[in-house]
Symmetry: C2
Subunit: 331 residues, 2 copies
């Protein structure tokens, strides 16, 4: 089991960065404590302990080290990134009324909506305190810009939902907001901290941006394509009428009859049994799933290409492998 795990590139990277990651875990525990409101860690603990893959903070730690950074502030930065991510999850729980998050009951079921909003706000405030501790105005600018982009992406997704006129351009704006903005901020800020050249900072941004987009496009594809092993319910986005890339590609290629189907199922929300199968048929007829797959592979390649001007290092290879791993399930 352990050996099998160690084959996954993010697990190898985690092993390589184990000391730094332990320092991030410590800082997460220390900084989420509230002297005045001791119940706050009750809400955050289950999210933080469930842990996820700590992918975003790991990107910060890895790219800082790759760029030769030898100080301690990358731990502060990585903790801030994880707090922003956790705050987003808490606020998403309110927004989506999702019943499960990382396989555990969501905070709003454990406690309630009020707590999710307030504790999310608390973690955001803590993230900005941490960022201030990096003493870099440029890093603060990068991360406050990312925070704005994240919320703009979420609002755009809300307003674009069920709108058959949603374009690929809008889709990628949403994806940059909801996923890629924090990835690219995590890597760009690490480069700023390490003081590398502007070209390399740009390359770090491009890597995070492309990796985040690949990550989200794969997720959206697997919603129509995944088997049981992906742990996803096929067709959730169709039922929720989320206009993701496979649907957008299919709709843009649809004839009148097919458009009538999309209007009924997505605009008017009159879905009946068998509609998901029909949706898949139309998508396959127009090659929408295959095109989406190619798009994801393209973004993974963009991510890998961006690494070229960064120093040769085992970490660089692992970052490249992570880009491959993100698209492995569709390759």
């Amino acid at each position: 089991m352990l050996d099998q795990k160690a084959h996954k590139p993010h697990e190898r990277l985690a092993a390589h960065l184990s000391e730094d990651l332990a320092a991030v875990d410590d800082m997460i525990r220390t900084r989420m404590v509230s002297e005045h409101a001791p119940r706050i860690p009750e809400v955050t603990a289950h999210l933080v302990e469930a842990g996820g893959k700590r992918l975003r903070p790991m990107l910060t730690l890895a790219t800082a080290r790759l760029c030769g950074y030898e100080g301690e502030k990358h731990v502060i930065l990585a903790t801030a990134i994880e707090f922003i991510h956790t705050a987003t999850l808490l606020h998403d729980d309110v927004v989506d009324e999702s019943a499960q998050r990382r396989g555990r009951p969501t905070a709003n079921l454990l406690w309630d909506n009020k707590s999710s909003v307030l504790v999310g706000d608390y973690l955001l405030a803590r993230a900005f305190q941490l960022m201030t501790d990096t003493e870099s105005l440029r890093i603060l600018a990068v991360l406050s810009n990312a925070s704005a982009t994240i919320t703009e992406g979420e609002v755009l997704q809300l307003t674009a939902a069920q709108d058959l006129g949603t374009t690929e351009e809008i889709y990628f704006k949403v994806v940059r907001g909801k996923t890629a903005a924090l990835f690219s901020a995590a890597t760009e800020a690490a480069g700023i901290l390490a003081g590398v050249s502007e070209d390399q900072i740009k390359a770090l941004y491009d890597y995070g941006d492309a990796l985040g987009i690949a990550f989200q496009v794969v997720d959206d594809l697997l919603d129509f394509w995944g088997g049981e092993e992906t742990g996803k319910n096929i067709g959730d986005d169709f039922r929720d009428r989320k206009l993701t890339l496979p649907l957008i590609k299919a709709i843009s290629a649809s004839d009148d009859d097919e458009m009538a189907f999309w209007k009924r199922t997505l605009e008017k929300n009159q879905q009946t049994e068998g509609d998901l199968d029909t949706a898949l048929e139309i998508m396959n007829r127009h090659g929408a799933l295959e095109e989406t797959r190619q798009a994801a592979l393209g973004w993974a390649n963009t991510a890998k290409d961006a690494l070229a001007i960064l120093p040769e290092d085992p970490i660089r290879d692992m970052l490249s492998d992570i880009a491959d791993y993100v698209v492995e399930r569709i390759n």
Copy 2:
């Protein structure tokens, strides 16, 4: 009507600062625009246009000018303060499910809970972008600390609700969070921007802190004491089982019979007709309302005293008058 208005000190201060306030209004409009999510201003516009008194940004503008600041960054700072305040209102709307805010339908009825959460997040992100534009790490630290204190206060209020063991100490922590933290950050940050002495920065903090506390204690007192002219429903906090200062003082002085009444009405939420009258009787019997009034007057005096070491200036007199005005309705 205009003359009558001009007698109110915050109106006189607004007239004195009219150019700066117009610049803040411009900046609010410019910075709340979202290129990617054009619907965001729909949600914020009704809050920003309804306008309130712009008390918090005005405190920043006034104290910066009082301290001899001649640049333009106080406008950035005041806009950031108003965005944080507006974000708090939006998130409060989700939390409290309040039906009215500033006399208009709340955002969550106009649009929905999702929008309130996300647009609040957007304004917070914009506030941090603005704060970064002040290029002062110390100001960023003050405001991110204030943001954390605000959310801690709200969470503490949530956990203290209906708890008869709530002490005055807890009450003042809640009040510092929900009200005073942003007042004191607004004035302290202005002093930092103006580059005055540490003693004066401390005095500015003390003024904002005491003014904010006086403001909230008066609000909590008027909930039991206000006539029709205050625009408040008498007894809302009692019905909502919010342990505010008048209740805390009455409970701490109560005998066994009275405690049984509080347990039934506040802990068990078994309220019937006439209970509010009984609550008022008990509060008056123990002088709880009068003691609360004295506390508010004391905080107003503390605010005025703090101004002593700041430069003599018409603005200083108006700030002192504002402290009097806050307690005028109970004096």
